[in-house]
């Protein structure tokens, strides 16, 4: 069973992402919800996680900082990270990909977008 962290300060956004995951066939994944980057980082360090989905604009620790922390951690550097954000554009996307994010999706995210981004994880 896959274990996925969703980091977003909005309960609505987390719900939409969970709904997308259910629709694309990841409904039985264990979902760990975090309201900010620090909470997500703590959860990722405490257990084996298969995927991190994160917003950018969050209090305490934002998504860009979370990506930096994950990718600089020996334990977490191979963890796939997908950024789901309202604050993305090609320039920001290039920056996040350079930091090590796997994909950047712009809100509002839809099941087909999620399917495309997670295709390689769905087959495992």
């Amino acid at each position: 069973m896959k274990r996925i962290i969703i980091a977003d300060d909005s309960a609505t956004a987390r719900m939409f992402i969970k709904r997308c995951l259910q629709i694309i066939g990841l409904g039985d994944a264990e979902i760990i919800e975090a309201e900010h980057g620090k909470e997500a980082l703590t959860a990722a360090k405490a257990q084996d996680v298969d995927l991190l989905l994160t917003d950018l604009n969050m209090p305490v620790m934002d998504g860009e900082t979370l990506v930096k922390w994950v990718k600089s951690s020996p334990k977490l550097c191979d963890l796939p990270v997908i950024v789901i954000t309202s604050a993305g554009n090609p320039a920001k996307e290039a920056k996040l990909l350079k930091l090590g994010a796997h994909r950047v999706l712009n809100k509002p995210v839809s099941p087909p977008m999620m399917m495309d981004a997670l295709a390689e994880f769905l087959d495992k």
Partner: protein
């Protein structure tokens, strides 16, 4: 009056895309430009744009409209809806709208910085000369209003 400048159309497009994807409702301009949402019914929130221009975007709607959207989006009955859920829906709507608005408005190589949405606790502030107002309605003819405030933000309408 339908304005065709990029600033105006960027916001129309952003609101339409957001409401269609998140709440499965279309959005159109309200023809009665004199319409104002009664103060006692109105709920609003705001989000700051920090870079490359400085401004504020506010989203206002009647509380019953927000309640309907909340029930529809969460798939719950009226009695189950909490204030926290309504605040969160309104904040996520505004967050998504502003992101799309800025993405529509600026070139691909322009980074921008937004703040976090905040629910308005007092009365909606008065508008001034550096304000643009979008008076919109949903497919169910429920009113929505968007305000863009700030000289450097509003000046983009002339570009």
């Amino acid at each position: 009056m339908i304005e065709h400048n990029p600033l105006y159309q960027s916001m129309i497009s952003a609101v339409s895309q957001t409401l269609e994807n998140m709440a499965f409702t279309e959005v159109m301009e309200k023809l009665d430009r004199s319409y104002e949402i009664p103060t006692e019914e109105l709920v609003w929130n705001s989000l700051l744009i920090n870079d490359p221009v400085q401004g504020e975007i506010r989203l206002a709607m009647p509380k019953r409209v927000l309640k309907n959207l909340t029930g529809s989006i969460f798939g719950i009955n009226d009695e189950e809806i909490t204030q926290a859920q309504m605040d969160d829906i309104q904040n996520e709507l505004l967050n998504t709208i502003v992101g799309l608005f800025l993405s529509n408005l600026f070139s691909d190589d322009q980074e921008y910085q937004m703040g976090l949405p905040e629910s308005g606790r007092e009365e909606l502030p008065e508008i001034d000369a550096n304000t643009i107002v979008w008076k919109l309605m949903t497919g169910e003819e429920d009113p929505l209003q968007i305000f863009a405030i700030g000289a450097s933000l509003v000046a983009l309408k002339n570009q």
